[in-house]
């Protein structure tokens, strides 16, 4: 199970590079919860889809580089550098992502990152 779950998460992270909304959403269950930890969780595929659609529309390129991945049972943990670029400027954000897997889909996806780092690098 762990190997399958790890592969699923690796494929999910790699798919972001394509910025294909349907391809990204295909990894998520209907009841999935996505929580960018500094802000409120998004519950259900519709809410997550709106977020993903908005996010990929804001960036020219998106890349989730997995630096380290570990799993136990149905939980996969990633330590990533997420890279985004637009208008010739690129940004990096260290992210710890935790994914819970059930029946071959992601049912919970929690990303931990530092809001101050985001503000300084992207907003500022």
């Amino acid at each position: 199970m762990s190997a399958d779950s790890e592969r699923l998460v690796r494929d999910f992270c790699a798919t972001w590079r394509k910025k294909n909304l349907d391809a990204i959403m295909a990894f998520l269950s209907d009841e999935c919860v996505h929580h960018n930890m500094p802000i409120k969780p998004l519950v259900g595929k519709t809410a997550v889809r709106e977020f993903v659609a908005d996010f990929i529309s804001r960036w020219d390129t998106i890349e989730f580089e997995i630096q380290h991945l570990a799993s136990g049972g149905d939980v996969v943990m990633t330590e990533r550098i997420d890279r985004f670029a637009r208008a010739g400027k690129s940004f990096e954000l260290p992210v710890a992502g935790v994914f819970e897997i059930a029946h071959g889909r992601i049912v919970a996806w929690r990303d931990y990152w530092d809001l101050e780092t985001w503000k300084a690098r992207v907003v500022g």
């Binding site: 930890m37 500094p38 570990a70 943990m77 929690r110 931990y112 530092d114």
Partner: protein, 349 residues
Amino acid sequence: MAGELPLIATTVVGSYPQPEWLVDRDALLAGGVPRVGMPGLWRVPPAWLERAQDDAVRLAARDMERAGIDVVSDGEARRESYFNWLAPALTGIDLERPGLGVSRTGKPTPVPRVVGPIGRVRPVLASQVAFLKAQTERPIKITVPGPFTLTSLAQNEHYADAPSLAMAFAAVVNDELREARAAGADFVQLDEPYLQAWPDRAREYGIAAIDRALDGIAAPTVVHLCFGYAHTVRDKPSGYSFLPELERSRATHVSIEAAQPRLDCAVLRALPSKTIVLGALDLGDAGVETADVVADRIRRALAHVGAERLIAAPDCGMKYLPRARAFAKLEALVAGARRVRAELTREVG
């Protein structure tokens, strides 16, 4: 459980660096060890904190497994300090108006103020132990501040004297340990750094309090003592003012800091019935030890302690280290222990 471990097994003392997304590391490093609540340390809002702590425990346990540690902990990822998490679960302590104590470095420090009988409002460890148990197939260890240290860092306004307060703390610690054991803790550990800081008081009532805390708790039971975190205490003596006395205690294991103070391991001969959890990583050294250095430290202890009674560990909790350094040091610990183990098994073979 200890019998299932390899010769010169490895463990951690307890804590492991908490991720920066979980705690404000700058605030953690700037302050001393908190003895009362420090909620501002957490970066995750209270509504989601427990879930985030769960994830941090997963990361800590996984790091320890990757490094090859035999007996893992939860990294104390849920704690602001080794000490201050228990008081909020107890009656008899005024959390709103802390008292004032004196740290081992002589500095005044806010401490729990004891205003009534010590009892438990709710259990703390059992659910945490069950969670950790579900994350790993390796033996697990859970730590609790010991009754002597709890007493040393409290302002007592209720009990007749310090020994009475220590026995009251010991009773609630015992309840926690019983439940931790029932929930799957393979090793339970009392953190008692103040045995070394206040040896005269420790001789008066320290062993009685430890024995009460460990009453009825099946082995292995560990008592950890040290000279304080390397982050806060830099100049350390090369010998303990309270150590042989632990031979009389119920504890089956004694965990000591030995690398940074360059301990003369001959003192370990005074603990012939105890398994020694030997500090073999100097946490004050910003470098990462080689396996050779770790192996030499282990060999120095083996001159005085049988290999079947030796476990290798860091000197103390790794909470204040950068995570990459802590991980690399654990890898060195494992490599050093394996090297010595290979030498010993060749000799036996």
